[in-house]
Amino acid sequence: MTPLRTRALDALRAAARRPNPIWLREVTQSVRAGRTPVAQMLVTAMLTLVMCSMGGMASLFRTPASVGRTLYQAFFSMAFFVVALASPAIAANSVVSEHEGRTWEALLLTGMRPAEIARGKLLAAATTVGGYLAMIAPVGALPFLFGGVAVTEVVVGFVYLGAFAAVGVTFGLAVGSRSPRAATAIGISLIVSFGTALFAFGVFGFGLSYAAHEAWPTVAAGHPVWLPTAYVRAPFGVAYAVYLLVVPALCALLPLWFFYELAVAAMTGPNDDRATGLKRWLLVASPVAAIGASLLVLVGAGASRFDASMAALVAYAVVSMLLVLVFVGDALGPSRRVEWLWSRAGAGAVARWLGPGLPRTMTLVLVTGLLGIALVAGTGVVAALALGSSPAADVARLVAVADVSASFFLFLVGLATWARARAAAASGARIVVVVGFAAGTFGPWVAAMIGGVLRSSESLLVIASPSPLFVVKAFDALAAGRVDAAVIASLACALGWATAGVALFAVGVRRTGQIVAAHHDALARADAQLAAEDAAAEGAGA
């Protein structure tokens, strides 16, 4: 049996032997409050009413099977929004209520680790959301009774609701652990989850249903709840495995793990190790996401392959840039406590490398990001060369986008390292990064517009070339195999961003090293003073 499996089994046995006390207490409180069951009944009653009304009206004009399919779409669409909105809010409130109720410190002082607290909160919120799902389950089975819907579709639909709930709950936990007040936490989680749910429903629901219909004609186009249907109706093959198994699993697991680590880091004290969990996630998630994106590119069909390559590349680069904002919050170096714990545990080089410390963290962000961009772009290039209709043009455009993305990403990492080394707090560095991103991406276009060049002369648009978005202007020339001013300007600016990034990174790392060394010197001096006092006191006592 592998050590990992042994550890997992041990953890499961321990969890069964000693259930998380926070989970048990929250469930007890929730049941006693009476508010939760009432809310669950209200949601169920409303869904039932809507479903019955729709079913009643539709059955006047349509066949039962058609009514069943309509009700199925309606039910799971509504349930998706209920879960997407309720899960984060419930989890966020669960964490913030500890702060507002002034019970958080009592909890911390019990010696429970932040991860254990986070798991208790997760389980509690998941139990509440699970209660909602259990209550609405009979309503969800109604479409099956009308026909036109397989039982597997209903079951898979609920599995997906559970997955959305799990991601929503961990997101809410991450928001709640960083918010001082319940109103703020619930407000942020509702706004973000509503926007995300709307986007996901429109793009991944309605939008992708057409692509799914193209790939598998038995899946209806324009039906937002197409995934469960695809499981039943699509023929099993490589595309099935990638689109319906690998990618959905990654889309659920990677954010879930990320939000969990984010929440645990936020619950952990500033002098403790907040970095290892998040860095471990990055180390796994970055290549896995790149491989997943590459698989999408390889499995894509015909002309859509280039679009998929470009979308995967841009999405990967943007997410990497957003992650800079997360990881710039790391401590400049390991605290004395962390070093003491490492020494006590006999931590090896890898454990120390994954621990707190800005230079190592930003190096990891940089390396994983660049490798990921290279992998996704490389896969796109290979796919274009092997299967593309116009390989040279596609390759040129992909390489240009990868080059510009990687350069700007490198600049942002350098800027973040430099800013964090100079700022007293991570928030200051984050502001600098956001301003740097906005100024670099949109500033040149604004400058171009202010100059009125957008109207007067196309060639003067080169003013906007520092923006990574400018690479789009070079597409036509690249596709035609020409090297014009736009191409040269775009690539020159990319080189400029990369050079600036390397320089800023080097300065930031050097300054961080100086600060950490000065801190160690101060601690050593304080230790020496205290030791001298002890010696003097002992001498006086003798």
Binding site: R25, L109, T110
Partner: protein, 337 residues
């Protein structure tokens, strides 16, 4: 070999923004003591306590609990300390027993073993099936104390434990703390109410505007301070002093005070002691005999023997606690510039 202090605070500094909240605070608390931490509101008491409880990182300096540095090994410190904050929150929709069972689980101790013990110690037995929301402030405070006792900590750190309590609840809390001390706990408690501390503390530290004004056993501080309300003469060194019944001038720093509760006429008891060896003055007021004396605990025993020999029934005897008020007033400046 010297005994390791239960709490050791050394050159503690803490800064919020540009303001120094604690400035070079140092003191030791010996094991088994009830140690009072006195200071006006905003003096830095809670900040010091939160550093001790591992909830706040010191800007500089070191705090050790039973030899463990709070900054380096907070996990060990959390196992040793029971911290009860001022105005702590509670989970209201659970019963007292569920509340304690939850925290026992969180501490990782067997609830079936510790909860009944703690319930008995804190006399929460009759309340254990009531919802926490239904408890009075005094009972909630008692519940908080029960919570911090669940993991059997060696050191109790209590921040304003009697604030908002009615007189009965205060007396009950005081008795409970004395009982906990008898169980070997070191108790560190803060307050700005001197009478609250005077009855139970053996040592104090006074903090004002983030600086430690004085720290140590109350008697020693009183002796160091010297001047007393009863001072009426100057000794050879010019130090304010007292004159005994025999006309001997005694430096005030050498004078200690105790009060004795007796049955029967106070005047008769006062007469029995007046002029005795080491006795500086005897005063009968407020149903107590207030005795100023020069000597050690042997003399206190002799005072009791003397009273009994004269047929006086002695009910109790304790150090004069108004010392604390005097110390506080003399050592702190209040709003004076």
């Amino acid at each position: 070999m010297s005994v390791t202090p239960a709490i050791r605070v050394r050159h503690l500094w803490h800064r919020f923004g540009q303001r120094d909240v604690l400035v070079d605070v140092s003191f030791d608390v010996a094991p088994g003591q009830i140690y009072g931490f006195i200071g006006p509101n905003g003096a830095g008491k809670t900040t010091t306590i939160r550093v001790m409880a591992t909830l706040l990182e010191p800007t500089a300096g070191r705090v050790e609990i039973e030899g463990h540095d709070v900054s380096i090994d907070p996990e060990a410190v959390r196992r040793l300390v029971g911290y009860m904050p001022d105005h702590a929150g509670v989970y209201e929709r659970v019963t007292v027993r569920e509340y304690l069972t939850f925290f026992a689980g969180a501490f990782g101790v067997a609830a079936s073993r510790v909860v009944p013990t703690v319930v008995e110690l804190t006399e929460l037995g009759e309340m254990q099936h009531r919802l926490v929301a239904e408890l009075s402030k005094g009972m909630r405070q008692r519940l908080q104390l029960a919570r911090v006792l669940l993991h059997d900590p060696k050191v109790l750190v209590l921040d304003e434990p009697a604030s908002d309590l009615d007189p009965r609840a205060r007396i009950e809390l005081r008795d409970l703390l004395l009982e906990l001390r008898s169980l070997g706990k070191t108790i560190f408690l803060s307050s700005h109410i001197l009478t609250e501390l005077a009855d139970i503390c053996t040592s104090v530290a006074i903090l004002e505007r983030g600086r430690l004004v004085v720290a140590g056993p109350i008697d020693e501080i009183a002796q160091r301070l010297g001047a007393s309300p009863h001072a009426s003469a100057l000794d050879a060194s010019g130090e304010p002093g007292l004159v005994t019944a025999g006309g001997v001038s005694v430096p005030a720093s050498a004078v200690r005070r105790l009060r004795v509760r007796v049955l029967g006429p106070l005047e008769r008891a006062a007469a029995a002691l007046a002029g005795g060896p080491g006795i500086v003055s005897v005063e009968a007021r407020d149903e107590w005999l207030h005795v100023s004396y020069q000597g050690d605990d042997q003399l206190v025993a002799a005072v009791v023997r003397q009273l009994v020999a004269h047929g006086v029934d002695v009910v109790g005897c304790e150090p004069e606690r108004r010392e604390l008020e005097r110390i506080f007033l003399e050592m702190t400046q209040g709003d004076r510039p």
